[in-house]
């Protein structure tokens, strides 16, 4: 029996359109997870891990080599005044790798925002990039100043 291609063509086209629509719909769906260090984690909500200023002060006094203090302010502000030993890494809403911060040390991030907006967001971004030891300085820069803890300028540190 001879197959009637003309009769089956509309069905073929309908099938093709359905496949295309289904495929597009599947791709347009938002991913239900957030990739953390290459792993897809559903319902990911970042909760910052805080470090108290007293604890950070102790680390500085003990010259601890396990931590790296990260100042999220603009480099010009960091040059004027910062927590002793802090490195300058200004806040960006989208951090692009490569990140010049070590992965094997605890990063203690601070900012001058009232509710740790910049430091918390940076900690979250770094966590998503696979940094596993990230802490946010509780109270940030202004709490550090209120407590009367030591600050230095870039020039002070260069003199050492």
């Amino acid at each position: 029996m001879k197959h009637n291609y003309r009769r089956s063509r509309p069905w073929f086209l309908l099938g093709l359109a359905t496949c295309l629509f289904a495929g597009t719909a599947a791709f347009s769906q938002k991913p239900k997870c957030v990739f953390v260090d290459g792993e897809c984690i559903e319902g990911f909500v970042y909760v910052p891990d805080f470090m108290m200023p007293e604890e950070l002060k102790k680390h500085i006094e003990e010259r601890s080599s396990d931590i790296v203090i990260v100042d999220t302010a603009a480099t010009l502000i960091w040059e004027e005044e910062h927590i002793p030993g802090a490195v300058s890494f200004p806040y960006r809403p989208n951090i692009a790798p490569p990140v010049p911060l070590p992965r094997d040390k605890t990063l203690v991030i601070y900012c001058a925002c009232k509710d740790h907006e910049d430091s918390s967001d940076m900690a979250k971004q770094l966590s998503l990039l696979g940094y596993q030891k990230v802490k946010v300085l509780k109270g940030g820069w202004f709490k550090w100043l209120d407590l009367g803890y030591k600050t230095v300028s870039k020039t002070d540190e260069e003199k050492k």
Partner: protein, 184 residues
């Protein structure tokens, strides 16, 4: 003898010079569009943190906003702040924010308090803690010869820069803010 080629080259040079002049004329002070906005602590006079140092750039986070810098206090500055407040009131339901920062420093505190009292403003009025020498002036590339700079920003990025305007030209800020809000 002047050839056709020479005239064409002259025209090209003219266009390049005109383009450069118009670019220079557009932005006289402040960060250009596309720049990220850095955190800058200022002294709050009338806002929710009055009497404290606070960073409104951080407070606004990714919300659409206008960061307004004024060289000093004057009648013209007052009029522009009132206009900015009006723009805020009109758009606050759209999560829009605004802040006024006086570069001159602590001498402007009384003036800002009076302006707030007489005009019943809703936007925070602040000043640069260290005055014109404050590092914020360098971070935001504020020209010392320019009276005012309005940075229209969203997602911590400048979308438009309007600077050195009179109170009659505030429409430029409104247009830039509307453009930003429409694009969200």
């Amino acid at each position: 003898m002047i050839t056709l080629r020479f005239i064409r080259e002259l025209r090209l040079v003219g266009f390049v010079l005109l383009g450069a002049a118009s670019l220079l004329g557009q932005i006289r002070s402040g960060l250009p569009a596309g720049s990220p906005t850095e955190s800058i602590p200022v002294s709050d006079v009338t806002g929710p943190y009055k009497g404290e140092r606070v960073c409104y750039v951080c407070e606004f986070e990714a919300d659409p906003n206008v960061l307004a810098f004024f060289r000093d206090t004057s009648e013209e500055t007052g009029k522009l702040i009132v206009e900015l407040n009006r723009l805020y009131v009109k758009n606050k339901a759209r999560n829009f924010k605004a802040v006024a920062m006086i570069i001159a420093g602590s001498d402007s505190k009384k003036w800002l308090e009076n302006l707030n009292r007489t005009e019943r403003l809703e936007i925070p009025l602040t000043f640069f803690t260290k005055g014109p020498k404050d590092v914020a002036a360098r971070i935001y590339q504020l020209n010392p010869d320019v009276q005012n700079t309005f940075l229209v920003t969203v997602n911590r990025t400048v979308t438009d820069n309007v600077s050195d305007i009179g109170s009659g030209e505030f429409g430029k800020v409104i247009d830039a803010a509307e453009k930003m809000l429409a694009g969200r």
